[in-house]
């Protein structure tokens, strides 16, 4: 990612989101819909839990031999006439792609990895005319905004505001009707496809055994991006490799169901090298960019490594009560929600993104749904002491927890402290007008519990 940036103030961002009634409604309806769709198609798969376990095992196995599988992938892609490029970081990946696409007309499919490295900015500097072709991403490009959900990137926008964006792009006023707007976008995008010289995609998976890049989508824009332009460049993080073609049976059962709640996405493209003699379509040149950009550091971290198993389905976002209220932009990261709260501190540092692992009630809903069984609540927990070591904590928090720990080390101290607390509580009355921070934060929306008359241990009789 491009530099750590200023510390992310998640609490403030969340307060702003909570004050936006449109955003609250949009998030609730969209996520509820996703959850219903997902639950229905997941219930059809009796071996769902076993598949999750298997997917986790495949990912961890692959990560354990990542060097070998990446070299196998490179050899297979090369053997089929593709070019493989290795990029240590985002800047290098962007340089490689900008060099290949310099000055040309580019169509791009949705790729979080390209968002991660701000590829479009690098391409613009290289004189490329870039068009995002996923409908949501296209609208974000027109608006100059960042995505706010991994698979519903424009959930934060109303159809009225989308009509404004598209009317400006089309040069004619369009009504706020989804069908009309989609039809208008289709015409605008079709022109770009037909004129495109370079197509850039991400990769959902890359199969080492065959050198195949796998792309999953619903709009057909990836099919066009990978067939019309003369050159296809696929950008992927090094963790996206899977060993065998057969592994797709597992991942393609899990991904669409967990992501959009579909049995299968409308289009699944398996791309193995450029067009071969005698083939009717496909690009003349195929490039695969294998990017590290902080991934080997996560790989080397025994506790955090499993975060690299993520297949970017967004299921953890859809069930997260914090995400549902704060929205994606509150995370100030390409990767929002629970997985973002794990990845962002690892990519951008514990000081910049130190708030994010704490922005969870640890309810565990994310870990329960993750189709590759990443133990997200535990990773959030594991990051917390690292953040405390890296940037410290607020003074009240440090004092409170040190005091707590000191008192609780001795039953006698607990008895005295408990008496003091109950006495103070009685003095304060049912709803005290003033309380010191952080108790004031509690009392802003909740009454304090009534004073207990005694401690349990004081009345205990064998």
């Amino acid at each position: 990612m491009s530099g750590p940036g200023a510390p992310i103030d998640f609490a403030a961002n969340a307060r702003a989101a909570l004050g936006d009634p449109f955003l609250q409604r949009a998030l609730r309806t969209t996520l509820e819909r996703f959850r219903e769709l997902q639950a229905a198609v997941i219930a059809e798969v009796p071996q769902w839990q076993a598949l999750r376990t298997q997917a986790h095992a495949i990912k961890l196995h692959t990560l354990g031999r990542l060097d070998r599988y990446l070299e196998e992938l490179e050899a297979q892609v090369s053997a089929r006439g593709g070019h493989v490029h290795w990029a240590r970081d985002g800047a290098e990946a962007a340089r490689i792609i900008a060099r290949l696409a310099r000055g040309r007309r580019v169509v791009k499919s949705k790729s979080m990895t390209s968002e991660e490295i701000r590829l479009n900015e690098a391409l613009a500097r290289a004189g490329c005319e870039v068009t995002e072709t996923d409908l949501g991403e296209y609208l974000l490009q027109l608006a100059g905004e960042a995505p706010s959900h991994l698979i519903a990137p424009i959930v934060h926008r109303s159809k009225e505001s989308i009509a404004e964006l598209l009317s400006a792009a089309a040069g004619t006023p369009l009504p706020a009707e989804p069908e009309r707007l989609t039809a208008a976008a289709r015409i605008l995008l079709r022109r770009r496809f037909l004129a495109a010289e370079v197509g850039i995609t991400g990769a959902n998976f890359a199969v080492a055994e065959t050198g195949t890049v796998v792309l999953v989508e619903n709009e057909g824009n990836i099919r066009l991006t990978t067939t019309i332009p003369r050159v296809h460049i696929a950008l992927m993080g090094i963790e996206k490799v899977v060993p065998r073609l057969g592994d797709l049976a597992v991942f393609l059962t899990l991904l669409p169901r967990a992501a959009t709640g579909q049995r299968m996405s409308s289009y699944v493209s398996l791309i193995t090298g450029p067009r071969r003699p005698g083939e009717a379509d496909g690009p003349e040149e195929f490039h695969l960019v294998l990017m590290d950009n902080g991934r080997t550091a996560i790989h080397a971290d025994a506790v955090m490594r499993e975060a690299l198993a993520c297949i970017r389905c967004g299921a953890c976002l859809d069930v997260c009560p914090v995400f549902e209220r704060a929205g994606g932009h509150a995370y100030e990261s390409v990767y929002p929600g629970p997985i973002g709260a794990v990845l962002t501190p690892l990519f951008r540092g514990l000081v910049t993104a130190g708030d994010l692992p704490f922005a969870s009630s640890l309810c565990g809903a994310c870990g329960e749904v993750c189709p590759v069984k990443i133990d997200l609540p535990r990773l959030l927990l594991e990051l917390r002491p690292r953040v405390v070591r890296a940037r410290g904590a607020a003074r009240w928090e440090r004092m409170f927890l040190r005091g707590w720990s000191w008192v609780m080390r001795s039953p006698a101290a607990l008895v005295s402290a408990g008496r003091l607390v109950r006495f103070t509580r009685r003095l304060l009355g049912p709803r005290p007008r003033w309380l010191p921070y952080p108790f004031s934060q509690w009392a802003a929306s909740r009454d304090l519990p009534p004073a207990a008359p005694f401690a349990f241990r004081e009345r205990w009789r064998r």
Binding site: R325, S361, E382, R386, S405, R409, P411, G418, D447, R459
Partner: protein, 239 residues
């Protein structure tokens, strides 16, 4: 069967009636209950907030306090999960303590889990003639896998009208320090939970944890609602 009651610090100091109900209930079912007085707090509040150095001495002291118990029973899914699931994580750099913690963890149960899975009881002889909504607290639900146990016990309580709670498995928004550090988010989550409770037409909301109930009750009281939060032990002890 001898049981050591791990009453939890919150119950001990702020909700003693819950602890009394838990011990009355266990005794009524023929269990010998003891209260190891060396117990204080499991350290979860510090652990969950990243203060692992502050949590470790509390974990060791708790393991020490319950080292000799046949079974450790807590009226809290969250504190039981702390001992069973998270002590091995917290104490992993100290293999001796981690092993002792695992020993104690294997014998540690949340109250309803102990009643149903260990004692094999569904019917505890309780009567509670009210409309009740059950909120499955997250740690019990997901860290310990308690789905059926509390519901089976509640369904057998005489004259209890168990109401359906919409979005029951969604977090109430407590989350320990989360409730103060991200107070606005916590309050928004609580609002959803309270709306569902009111929608259920329950007179009482119950759960396996006083922490979530303190949060929910605080919100109900602030709204002037007549619905009260009551720990499941108090319902099961009622006759």
């Amino acid at each position: 069967m001898r049981v050591a009651l791990f009453v939890t610090c919150l119950v001990d100091q702020l909700f003693p009636h819950t602890g009394q109900a838990a011990s009355d209930l266990l005794r009524r079912l023929g269990v010998a209950v003891e209260f190891p007085p060396a117990q204080t707090c499991c350290g979860q509040v510090a652990f969950n907030d990243g203060f692992w150095d502050e949590a470790r001495p509390l974990a060791r002291a708790l393991v020490e306090a319950f080292d000799h118990a046949d079974a450790v029973v807590a009226p809290s899914g969250s504190c039981a999960a702390m001992v069973r699931e998270f002590y091995p994580v917290l104490l992993r750099d100290d293999p001796g303590w981690a092993a002792r913690a695992r020993q104690v963890g294997r014998r540690t149960y949340e109250l309803t889990e102990f009643l149903v899975d260990v004692l094999g009881v569904d019917e505890v002889g309780a009567r509670f003639p009210y409309r009740v909504a059950y909120h499955p607290s997250c740690h019990g639900l997901r860290a310990l896998g308690l789905r059926e146990q509390p519901l089976r016990l509640l369904r057998h309580v005489r004259e209890l009208d168990l109401r359906t709670l919409q979005g029951a498995e969604e977090c109430c928004g407590f989350g320990g320090m989360f409730a103060v550090k991200f107070a606005a988010l916590s309050a928004a989550m609580l609002e959803t939970k309270i709306a569902a409770i009111e929608e259920s037409a329950a007179e009482f909301v119950t759960a396996t944890d006083v922490s979530c109930l303190m949060h929910i009750d605080g919100g109900l009281r602030r709204r002037g609602s007549s619905v009260r939060a009551v720990h499941i032990a108090e319902i099961l002890a009622a006759q």
